[in-house]
Symmetry: C2
Subunit: 331 residues, 2 copies
């Protein structure tokens, strides 16, 4: 069957970077079939939902989507729910995978090559809060089932070493369950893997100080959210950081950056994060490692040759930056 990708540009610069990433994907996978779908704040204003059912159906059917970015309303809007959270929940995208590689940029730190595997469905993200006006209690849920399945993903993706992140000195029962479940899964499925653990505060310290020491980290939802933004510094900034949300038979890749309303519509957004997110689709969905590596190598080559959008101190437009990647691909 023809591999199909649902393009969901979303809001702001998502509209600009997603089509460019699609050009790169088509260069490495000429047979790739593309369809478009809506999601985000714009979709909410048009349809009253941030992710229309047709979009969810299209993703389910294709098994793969590339999502740009969504603008969030500054304050709570009745009925609005973040498009990315909606997709994660509706499609049960339970693993958020974020690789952080040093890119060849001036002043960049070399030798970082780590992977953060974040549980993507529970923890504080269950969104259960009760209030009496003076005291609010939010529920943080950790289950054996979700811990086991994220443990399996982490065990599968880790190279030599897996670091389990938790705060079991404060949350011995919930984070203890997470830690012990992941350990058990790893012992069963990857007995060759070295496993260690770090408290989340200590992990933040080491990620900021010596990111080179990490291979793969696995963390509950919010810790993974915080640590993966932090770690994105080492690939050159949020503008260059890719991610992929994985479920069973379905995946949504997305650049880590937001919709950047300040530069939207100017054609100067950096497409690299979206392009690298496309590479993650090649690797994790279509199992096309050579296509994934080709894209990553071309990005490195283009940057090495000095190709740069304004956020990197250059003058290239979004399209010209993509052209530089395509040129490096030999496409």
């Amino acid at each position: 069957t023809t591999p199909t990708l649902v393009l969901i540009p979303g809001d702001g610069i998502g509209q600009e970077v997603v089509p460019e990433a699609a050009r790169v994907l088509q260069a490495v996978m000429p047979a790739l079939h593309l369809v478009e779908a809506e999601a985000g704040w714009g979709a909410f204003q048009r349809h009253g939902v941030s992710v229309p059912p047709a979009t969810l159906d299209a993703i389910r059917q294709a098994g793969a989507a590339l999502f740009g970015a969504v603008q969030s309303p500054a304050r709570k809007v009745a009925g609005y729910r973040s498009a990315i959270l909606t997709m994660r929940q509706a499609l049960d995208l339970y693993a958020n995978v974020r690789p952080v590689h040093s890119l060849p940029l001036p002043n960049a730190r070399p030798h970082v090559n780590l992977l953060i595997v974040r549980e993507n469905t529970e923890g504080l993200y269950v969104g259960e809060e009760t209030s009496d006006g003076e005291t609010v209690t939010a529920q943080r849920r950790i289950t054996r089932r979700a811990s086991a399945r994220i443990g399996r993903v982490a065990a599968h993706l880790a190279r030599q070493r897996l670091t389990i992140v938790h705060k079991a000195n404060i949350l011995p029962v919930s984070d203890g369950l997470f830690r012990d479940t992941v350990r058990a899964v790893v012992a069963e499925t990857r007995p060759d893997l070295a496993v260690d653990e770090l408290l989340v505060d200590v992990a933040a310290y080491h990620l900021a100080r010596t990111p080179e020491r990490f291979d793969t980290l696995v963390a509950p939802n919010l810790y993974g959210d915080i640590l993966s933004d932090l770690a994105a510094v080492w690939c050159g900034g949020l503008g260059l950081a890719p991610s992929i949300n994985l479920g069973d038979g379905v995946a949504v890749a997305e650049p880590v950056h937001g919709s950047a309303p300040d530069i939207a519509g100017k054609g100067i957004a950096n497409p690299i994060a979206a392009i690298l997110s496309g590479a993650l689709l090649c690797r994790y969905v279509w199992r096309n490692e050579s296509a994934a590596s080709a894209i990553e190598q071309a990005v490195a080559t283009a940057l090495q040759r000095g190709a740069a959008t304004p956020d990197l101190g250059g003058t290239l437009s979004t399209r010209e930056m993509t052209d530089a990647v395509l040129a490096a691909l030999g496409a």
Copy 2:
């Protein structure tokens, strides 16, 4: 009345650094009266509690303590509770204040001068977890009262700008209460202060990337825990990072580092974090800004002259490092 300080060396290198920090404090405040008290894992083994009632009484009476470090048992031990958590709760030490200043060290990043004000009593630290074996639910509690009092501390300590850290896009009710309450307190008590806000993941990114941009940050408990460890990178590492836990009329200063069992008993632990924690007592408890500044200046001078313990690549012992600080003090 004579200012009194309770020294609580605790475990491991706490035993080595606290007496040295006391020497420095006595040099700048000759009238300071010192008493000793027990807490930690050793105390638990001797008395069956990590913080004996006599220790709590001594701190309450003196209003000030310098705490070294405690060793935590590797796995849960019945009846044992972390000494620092016990003191925070029993003495209602509701504000954890951590300044991060660039120190003159080779390869250190200059121009960082920020303060993290962390709510120290609630959030996920309320320690309420329920489990049915498959699902664990932990309670995260945010109250208007605790948010208001940490807001008052932050408003009081901030210089020009206060950044409120939250995750109100995921936790609109609890983190919304925290944010809005802090904003209201600041508007009332420090209308001159510029106030902004950052999501905790974005704050981690900016703290790792451009720490120079921050003045003072205020955060709920766990976010503050994570961000302050991360930020400690910029003062030269955890071995140099001071902190103070503040309540009403009572304070416990503590170096951010742990008991370091690997180097305990060798006389080579770096005393700087403990010495700088002593300076925080001068500033925030005894309102002796000139003593606080004198200590901080002497530490900078000693480091500039090349004084260094093994963790900093030097050969000085704990005592010799302290002597270097005392020499810089002119004491």
